[in-house]
Amino acid sequence: MSAAVYTNLSTSGLSAAGVIRSEWIKLRTVRSTIWAFAIVVAVSVGIAVLMASTGFFGDEPLPAEAQTSIVLQASTFGVYFGQLVMAVLGVLVISGEYGTGMIRSTLTAVPKRIPALAAKAIVLFLSSFVVGAIAILASYLVAAPILAVQDIAATVDGAFIGNLLLAALYLALTSVFALGVGTVLRSSAGGIAAALGIVLLLPIIVSAIAGFSGAQWAMDVSPYLFSNAGSGMYTGGSLEQWQFTLIVAAWTALSLGAGTLLLKRRDA
């Protein structure tokens, strides 16, 4: 029997910065991320070109406010599609780990678990925000000269740029919301179905009910739905923009909170 007892003398250890770096490496080293981000940018720019070049806005000069609104719409129309891609990506970031068994490696390295999910959320949020901002700014930059031909130009002020960034923020929150959904359901198919159901289908169903039966509750609840509130964040509507932002943030907190609770309690 050996008397020696091996002791690891290295001074490095688990750290928040390390866990975040680990999740960043993971996010950028799978193809689904690269594809998702490329699609968000490409589709957003493509739709902006399409919108700007096919729109006809009359011969009379429009008021400045209406012009700004047209440019904003052309620049952010791709968000309707981008939100779906971000939702799929957010689910895959965690369901891909459950599907492959990678989650056991992740949770062995970070046995307290919650820091791993928090790091995933931070990394996903920041990179989705940056990609969303690039997509929307690029869309603005290609749409603006095309619209200028028809004498349509935005008044580029703080509010306008703020709206573009709010659209990017919505995309980032969508991916984190979906991360929470994926953590709860732990399956790619189920997670994507649920996330897209909430983002895409729920507003359609509610508006169909409202249109069909004229039910007041359906009309009342509509602005509080995830994607309705999401578009309200950068276009406004029946509530203030900051209120819409809070509604989307609340959805995100709810899903991520449920995911956190279950991640901590369940066996991996």
Partner: protein, 309 residues
């Protein structure tokens, strides 16, 4: 050092691990043996906190795994060769795992070299064979240069050369004073690799002893003898506790009697012996004895499905 106390895991009505106590000591290779579903993997998952014990607990070097400042430096675990994202390259997998603990590229390249993965490190794990996946899992376990290594079925899917490599690796890491805890269903493998055995059956410990003791304790210690008058000798040796089998003319295998008793009996009757050899039971036989007893003992007290998940 791994220390389990009253460790229990139930899944609904089924008990996977039933109130077990054991200690895995440093400087030794401790084998964890048991039939499929005996609770080995569940026990190993509980050690690193992936499964939460229903009752009792387990510590590594005096603390729960999750409470260590640098878990990967304490324990390296290969729990499931498939615990790797198939869409990522081996190198990036190791880099991401190491990053959590500030372990950098130099160490990643080191473990890639140690496990012989240089030529495939840049390839996506999805295309790996079972053996390569196993090597990558072992590389990940070694990443933190841990004092304790837990390997669940490490030789699964490895070629003979790989099996030899794991055996040498386990022995050399134990010689450095590390705690090595490995499970295997290959009992012959255990006989060659392990110093100490913990045998699990239906979630309970049936044996916890040095390999040599388990072999010696087997009821199947036999004696092989060759004689021109084998039939006559067989009649003399026959008794209630003795079993005699013959596979060819003049060759007997006797269990229940020692070589001394057989030799003296033959000499007393003037029967010539051409061979008299005590045959040590294989670990496999010893193990079958142990688990068989366990099954019989528990048949009336557990559910028909047993303790399996």
């Amino acid at each position: 050092m791994i220390h389990a106390q009253a460790l229990t895991k139930r899944y609904g009505a089924k008990t996977a691990v039933d109130d077990i106590d054991f200690t895995v000591r440093p400087g030794l290779v401790t084998g964890f043996l048991g039939p499929n579903g005996a609770g080995k993997s569940t026990t190993m998952r509980m050690i690193v906190g992936l499964d939460r014990p229903t009752h009792g607990g387990v510590t590594v070097n005096g603390r729960k795994y999750a409470e260590h400042r640098a878990p990967l430096h304490e324990v390296g675990a290969l729990l499931d060769a498939k615990a790797i994202h198939t869409g990522r390259s081996a190198y990036n997998h190791l880099l991401a795992m190491g990053a959590t603990h500030g372990i950098g590229k130099a160490r990643v390249n080191e473990v890639i070299g140690m496990t012989g993965l240089e030529s495939v490190a840049g390839k996506r794990v999805g295309g790996f064979s079972l053996g390569m996946g196993q090597r990558l899992g072992i590389a990940a376990a070694l990443l933190g240069d841990p004092a304790t290594l837990i390997l669940d079925e490490p030789v699964n899917g490895l070629d003979p050369e790989g099996v030899m490599w794991v055996r040498r690796l386990a022995r050399s890491l134990a010689a450095e004073g590390r705690t090595i805890f490995l499970s295997s269903h290959l009992m012959s493998e255990m006989a060659l690799t392990a110093d100490h055995l913990i045998v699990l059956g239906r979630g309970r410990i049936i044996a916890d002893a040095p390999v040599a003791d388990i072999l010696a304790g087997s009821t199947r210690t036999a004696v092989r003898l060759r004689s021109p008058r084998a039939e006559q000798l067989a009649q003399l040796l026959a008794g209630p506790q003795v079993s005699i089998s013959t596979t060819e003319q003049g060759l007997l295998t006797v269990t229940g009697l020692t070589a001394e008793v057989i030799g003296d009996t033959a000499a007393g009757a003037g029967i010539p012996l051409h061979e008299l050899t005590p045959v040590g039971a294989s670990l496999e036989e010893a193990y079958m004895d142990l688990t068989q007893d366990d099954v019989e003992y528990h048949a009336g007290t557990t559910t028909p499905e047993g303790a399996l998940r």
